[in-house]
Amino acid sequence: MSASILIIIALALVALFVMFSFNRLVALRQAWKRAFADIDVQLKQRHDLIPNLVESVKGYAAHESGVFTQVTEARANAMRATSVGEKSAAEGILSGALGNLMAVAENYPQLKANQNFQQLQDELADLENKIAAARRFLNNAVAEYNTAIQQFPAALFAGSFGFAPAQMFELDEAEKAETKEPPKVTFGA
């Protein structure tokens, strides 16, 4: 009699605990999905800006066609990407291509003096800052979610409820170099 009551209470406690954990995981998953949607807004703005930027550089440096196709293709690929992994890879390539475009622009003083170009450049720099900020937020949210689904009691059922680990929006190569990671030191041969 009393043993069965104890068992029922224990089962109820376990059920309650699973319920709370489940809700927490759902909330954390929503958080990073929302963060991903936010970063998408910024990326979309960058995609919208690029044709104007390319056009204004073309006006002064029409013969540098290689870099224009590179940027245009990278943009098209980035716009096609859907998952976090695809996006971070494609956007990384796009950032690299944009870097080349700006490097080309550096060689044309008249272009650099063009007010329209300067404005586009400022807008791009501003968007880059926003993308960097949105990515920081996304990565924080993803890290929190990934930790939560890997921690002990939740880890028992997270997988079976379909909580798969999420992917971070990784730093692209150019930016990695800029974050001044300590250089790797190797000794000897």
Binding site: D38, S95, L98, G99, A103, E128, N129, A132, F137, E178
Partner: protein
């Protein structure tokens, strides 16, 4: 070293404190009422005749209490008779606070809203900070004064706002302004500003009530003092003075409920967002030189990023903010460096706020 953001416990504590204060508020008012009548009763039992004719108490059955009861009976009967009015006042005040807290605070500090078009760089700085925390960008306000200070206000998404002074914008460079904005944003994230608003609205209410009763009695003493017993009026003024003291003691207790740690946490939060402790250190050093906002009521001053202790403060006992030296020490533990003498902090900023929010390329993948 205080951990920076993600302090969900700290935030939860702030929310619980806010709710407890809201719940305790009508009780405090009742206690204040009872206390006044208790003191009044102490005098009244000694000389009942003098008090029998005082108008406000005739409707309470106090006459009989004066004859036979104790001061505690008097206090109790006053509470029993007037609790609906007290609760009504509390409810009205809470509603006013809920809907107009931002307007009240900004009126008290003289802050004016600025639009995105008027201050694009400032909004840009703030927006990037907000994006990195997944927050809606709160509106910005500016106080037109040379003093350097800033505060965050509001109780929910609808009313959150960040205010900076004109002097702060003029004399800090954009990194330092960013650090200050991140500090204020952390107050919003941690719900410090919500707790502060709740306490300010309440302490404001208590001192307002105390002052009103004091003033009311003074007027009463002038209009009536000569015709009726002068002694009773003197006693009532003593009672009002005691109410004033009780009000201020309550206000003080509320103030002590606030943790001075919140500023250190917000400093750490700022560093967590900007990764730039140096900028916050130099901003604090600059601000502390000229941070006094004398036109702002003392209750509201505790919301600012820096509130220099007044001359009457005994060894920081009633200080609302930790000393600047301590804050800088904590920031140094977070990896910050105090600017050296070769790079004088008082020098005019090389990079005023009018310049681009971020020098192009600082965080972009190229250049």
């Amino acid at each position: 070293m205080p951990a920076a953001l993600g302090l969900t416990t700290y935030r939860a504590n702030n929310n619980i404190k806010s709710i407890l204060l809201l719940l305790a508020f009508p009780g405090l008012l009742l206690a204040l009422l009872g206390g006044i009548f208790f003191v009044f009763g102490l005098f009244a039992v000694r000389s009942p005749d003098r008090f029998a004719a005082i108008d406000p108490f005739q409707g309470l059955g106090i006459q009989s209490v004066l004859g036979t009861g104790t001061p505690a009976d008097l206090a109790l009967s006053a509470i029993v008779a007037w609790w609906p009015i007290v609760f009504g006042i509390a409810a009205v005040w809470i509603l006013i606070g809920y809907f107009f807290n931002d307007a009240i605070i900004h009126m008290a500090t003289g802050a004016k809203p600025v639009s995105r078009a008027e201050a694009p760089q400032l909004y840009n700085l703030l927006e990037i900070l907000c994006i990195s925390r997944g927050l809606k960008t709160p509106p910005l306000y500016i106080i037109d004064t040379d003093v350097m200070n800033a505060y965050a206000s509001g109780i929910d998404e609808r009313s959150y706002a960040i205010t900076v002074t004109r002097g702060l914008l003029d004399q800090l460079n954009s990194d330092e302004i960013e650090a200050v904005l991140a500090h204020e944003l952390t107050h919003i994230i941690d719900r410090d500003c919500r707790l502060l608003i709740v306490t300010i609205v309440f302490t404001g209410m208590l001192s307002f009530l105390a002052q009103m009763s004091w003033r009311g009695l003074r007027i009463a003493s002038f209009s009536r003092g000569r015709s009726r017993g002068g002694g009773a009026v003197i006693v009532m003024m003593i009672v009002a003075a005691i109410a004033l003291v009780i009000g201020y003691v309550l206000a003080l207790m509320l103030r002590l409920a606030l943790s001075r740690r919140r500023e250190l946490l917000a400093d750490a939060g700022s560093v967590d967002i900007t990764k730039n402790p140096d900028a916050l250190i130099s901003a604090l050093l600059k601000i502390s030189k000229n941070a006094d906002v004398p036109h702002v009521p003392s209750e509201v001053r505790q919301m600012f990023i820096e509130n220099p202790p007044s001359a009457f403060d005994f060894g920081g006992l009633f200080a609302t903010h930790p000393p600047i030296a301590q804050r800088i020490r904590v920031l140094e533990e977070l990896g910050g460096r105090v600017p050296d003498a070769a790079n004088p902090i008082a020098a005019p900023s090389t990079e005023p706020v009018k310049s681009p929010a971020m020098p192009p390329g600082t965080k972009s993948p190229w250049s």
